[in-house]
Point group: C2
Chain length 110, copies 2
Amino acid sequence: MGITKSEIFTLQQNEIATFAKVFGHPARVAILQHLFKINTCVCGDLVSIIGLAQPTISQHLKELKNLGLIKGTIEGTSVCYCIDKDNWLNMKTIMITFLDQDYSETDQCC
Amino acid sequence: MGITKSEIFTLQQNEIATFAKVFGHPARVAILQHLFKINTCVCGDLVSIIGLAQPTISQHLKELKNLGLIKGTIEGTSVCYCIDKDNWLNMKTIMITFLDQDYSETDQCC
DNA sequence: TCTATTAATCGTAATATTGCAATAAACAAA
DNA sequence: TTTGTTTATTGCAATATTACGATTAATAGA
């Protein structure tokens, strides 16, 4: 039925999945990498850099903004985007905790 | 049109997105957390633990197996699943490198 | 052999995602 | 005010994902 049954999972599991989902598209990965790389706000050149149509980029930016990972500031006719450092750090902690689970070397059966 | 234009992104960007996508569903997060928690192979009790139908769990397991994050061993009529440690570590390195990008505190505009 | 158990596969319905053309909105500058 | 520039929104088509009933396959045990 195409609909995720999020109600049967914990808040933490849903949160991890929500963050992961937004990284599940290479355009959004590329946008974030660019924002980190140029080390300042980006005003408008994302469309030419990524290579997708302007409405498509705008949609991807919206998803990143909804999760709070980036923020945009209006500068005249253009909008400047940058990483939201606090929220990124919070997300990073949650994701790394998930990735960093560890288990002892004993009691392995495969 | 519902199809990701992966050809315009780098191999690394596509790899990050592929790993992230598999974590983008809470059932798969829950499966992996359970495999880490019980610290040994799981033979069949995943359906009752997660709370989705057996074909649905089987489908999620298949996606995790396709990416190499888990492996299954046949034990009679049941199959035992566990984390593939080597591949998990490889994935972890790739994902943490992405999450851990950093940028200097200077030259910020927002 | 027959039956029960377990997991995979098939088929299908419902919903979500991706991408873009067309358009709108907001503002700067002439 | 008009024109150009930039970004957001709308609407839609194509494809992907999620979920599960029905079925199949494989094996253990009676």
